[in-house]
Symmetry: C2
Subunit: 182 residues, 2 copies
């Protein structure tokens, strides 16, 4: 027990609520859609699906598409109910560990340039992320799924946050002298 309500399992059930998929496909879809806030590794995905099938939350069908073996998983009624129940529960807050902020917090121990370059690097990363999110947003806008509005919300969340990060970068870099030489 415990497994039944584990978040990894719920994420998998959620993916299958979109459409039947193979384990591999679930991983791929996650990478392309929820990567910014959720991801599962192979070592998690395959055993979890097996377990979920044992518990009757998903069903699998072996499919030989062009001789390549493939297991297509489908959400069972019980699985859908479990997912719904979990979705209705309040989210417990996630313990976040942000290495970048930790380094920033202890910045007084090193030369300012070092921290400034970290921030610039961070700025670059976020800028890239934001571009990606904007593309994803446009893609979702073309989709006519019941899921689409919720997907949009989560993307817009990411965009909003990314913009705030960039604003913060600008503020901090502004009030920081550029390249002080001694």
């Amino acid at each position: 027990m415990g497994r039944k309500t584990s978040k990894s399992s719920m994420a998998i059930l959620g993916m299958l609520s979109i459409e039947p998929m193979s384990a591999y496909a679930i991983g791929k879809v996650m990478q392309q859609s929820t990567a910014a806030f959720w991801a599962e590794s192979d070592g998690q995905l395959y055993p979890a699906l097996k377990q979920l099938e044992k518990e009757g939350l998903v069903r699998s069908k072996k499919i030989a598409y062009s001789t390549r073996r493939k297991k297509l998983y489908t959400l069972s009624t019980k699985g859908k109910d479990t997912l719904k129940k979990w979705l209705a529960e309040e989210s417990q807050k996630n313990s976040i560990r942000n290495e970048f902020l930790l380094k920033l917090f202890f910045g007084a121990n090193v030369q300012r340039d070092i921290i400034v370059s970290h921030i610039k690097k961070f700025q670059d990363n976020v800028t890239q992320q934001l571009e990606l999110l904007k593309v994803q947003e446009e893609v979702i806008r073309t989709k006519d799924s019941e899921h689409a509005p919720y997907w949009l919300y989560s993307i817009q969340y990411g965009i909003q946050i990314a913009k705030a990060k960039l604003q913060w970068c600008r503020q901090v870099l502004e009030n920081s002298p550029k390249e002080v030489k001694k």
Copy 2:
């Protein structure tokens, strides 16, 4: 090995770079300052400090302050060097798992009210967080430490992000019909 460069250890060394502290105090200070982006549990803190002492990165002194036993840890030169080296390294991105966003993403599976109430709850939490951060910001402003500017940056980061979250909440709740009864 591996432990020497573990992030938990670096967080502890960082705390000791502020001033010598007991394990218990490190935990307390983290709760009051870095809680938003970093925390360590007891089961991590005490063994890690022991290990760090074995490696010569910290030194301890037993102090009997009013008969109550207490171990005061101090950063060694080697420890400070290790910290500095780590601070100069680029941060690897943290794998974030955000349960709230995951539920939002799969929101189409349940009634809209459920998701709306999740968002409202989230909004309340962030509002509280923001208030706390503002208080912390004022406290830091009164401090005259070399650390203060960096502490301010990290707080301001939190504030910026919190505001963005609230903005997003408002946007999403606005375009959502209030309490549709069928």
